[in-house]
């Protein structure tokens, strides 16, 4: 749900930004027509630009999802030696596993245990 809200926020921000740009261009051409000097944009256009930028940035960060932890060691704390030590390219198969094979064949339904545990 929050994903679609974020998407609409982002879209709204972009549209407002485009609208502010268009009105700024229109303002300048108006000044050119009436031969006035161009000093600065009117305050409401500036406010609209900044507000729409913030809206778009907020929308993007919400869509992008959760931030990762900045401290690298926190991420690594979850790793265990049991999995880190496994080297898939170097797996050997001459262990005792094949002796257990007949026992494995007679077992039933143990796979579901792993599914529920995870």
């Amino acid at each position: 749900m929050s994903n679609s809200v974020a998407k609409y926020t982002f879209l709204l921000g972009i549209l407002l930004l485009l609208h502010a740009a268009y009105s700024a261009a229109q303002h300048r051409s108006y000044l050119r027509l009436t031969e006035q000097e161009f000093t600065s944009l009117p305050a409401d256009i500036i406010l609209q630009t900044i507000f729409s930028l913030l809206l778009a940035v907020y929308g993007v960060t919400m869509v992008a999802g959760d931030f990762k932890e900045i401290r690298s060691n926190i991420d690594l704390q979850k790793k265990t030696w049991k999995n880190l030590n496994n080297r898939p390219s170097f797996y050997t198969f001459n262990h005792r596993g094949h002796i257990f094979n007949p026992i494995l064949l007679t077992r039933t339904g143990t796979g579901k245990g792993a599914l529920e545990a995870n």
């Binding site: 198969f93 001459n94 094979n101 599914l115």
Partner: protein, 291 residues
């Protein structure tokens, strides 16, 4: 039946998780494959080939040759000229202990494609399975001369050296790993363990500093905490230790004991015992004991 059709997506996600984490739970993989995924194989799409490879290796581990042959034939059907599938065939010969056939296939692959890293690694594994550790080490060092950034290979080499009790060379390999990921507390702990095993006052010092760094990075690493406790206690009771370092070591051992007792009380584990912690402090190597 309905329960199974709801679950197959969970099983697929579980398999993906296990692939990324390098988990070697072969029995569970084979069981789950037989019960759930084999019936829904068509729905897996491209991921199905990765799952087939995973199930193939798990089946070799459990020595379920029918499943292994089924996976291999399906992969062969889809990718008839693939080096990767040929390598899996060599793995099957390895599992059946037909090492010469496996070596033939691998040599063929290497001749066709000099850059194929995985086949060279399988050759090392074949030597290792036959117990020819020295040849395995030689093959692996040649491999590492070409492919220097392969972390798996460095880890494997350090394990091979440890089995041959060549502590210096094993420490060198772990140093390479630490260069790649200096914030990984497990590599630091492993290095400290090798240095501690070597023994001698200087190595104890090095071990203590690496254990301290590992404990700093991950205060939940019980093994690093125990290592810190033991090395600082041994250093403090060593005659070569200057008094300032002795005080430092005693403080470190007290900190480590506190951390361990905190972890014990928070985990409420029956395996931990405060008696063990107290007993650890009294552990001495035979020659140093003055009691």
């Amino acid at each position: 039946m309905e329960k199974q059709s709801k679950h197959w997506e969970d099983v697929r996600d579980l398999f993906r998780n296990w692939r990324e984490e390098n988990c070697r739970q072969s029995e569970d993989v084979v069981d789950l494959w037989k019960e759930v995924l084999a019936n829904h194989f068509g729905k897996l799409g491209d991921e199905g080939w990765l799952v087939l490879e995973q199930v193939f290796i798990a089946a070799l581990d459990c020595h379920s040759m029918e499943i292994a042959n089924f996976c291999l034939s399906k992969l062969n059907q889809e990718f008839p000229d693939s080096m990767r599938v040929k390598r899996l065939k060599a793995m099957k010969y390895e599992a059946l202990e037909r090492y010469e056939d496996a070596l033939d296939i691998l040599d063929l692959i290497i001749k066709k494609d000099e850059t194929n890293a995985a086949s060279r690694k399988r050759k090392v594994t074949i030597y290792k399975s036959q117990g020819m550790i020295i040849e395995a080490i030689k093959e692996l060092t040649d491999y590492l001369r070409i492919f220097m950034a392969d972390q798996e290979a460095w880890m494997e080499l350090s394990d091979l050296y440890i089995s041959q009790q060549e502590w210096n060379k094993a420490a060198f390999c772990v140093e390479e790993l630490m260069l790649h990921s200096p914030f990984n507390h497990l590599y630091l702990q492993r290095y400290a363990e090798i240095k501690y095993t070597q023994g001698g006052y200087e190595n104890l010092e090095i071990a203590r500093s690496y254990y301290a760094q590992a404990a700093k990075l991950n205060p939940n690493n019980v093994r690093a905490l125990y290592g810190l406790l033991l090395t600082s206690v041994h250093m403090a009771s060593n005659s070569k230790c200057p008094s300032q370092k002795k005080k430092e070591s005693i403080k470190l051992s007290e900190w480590a004991t506190n951390q361990l007792s905190q972890l014990q009380s928070s985990n409420d584990s029956k395996l931990f015992s405060s008696q063990i912690l107290e007993g650890m402090g009294n552990l001495q190597i035979g020659n140093d004991s003055k009691n």
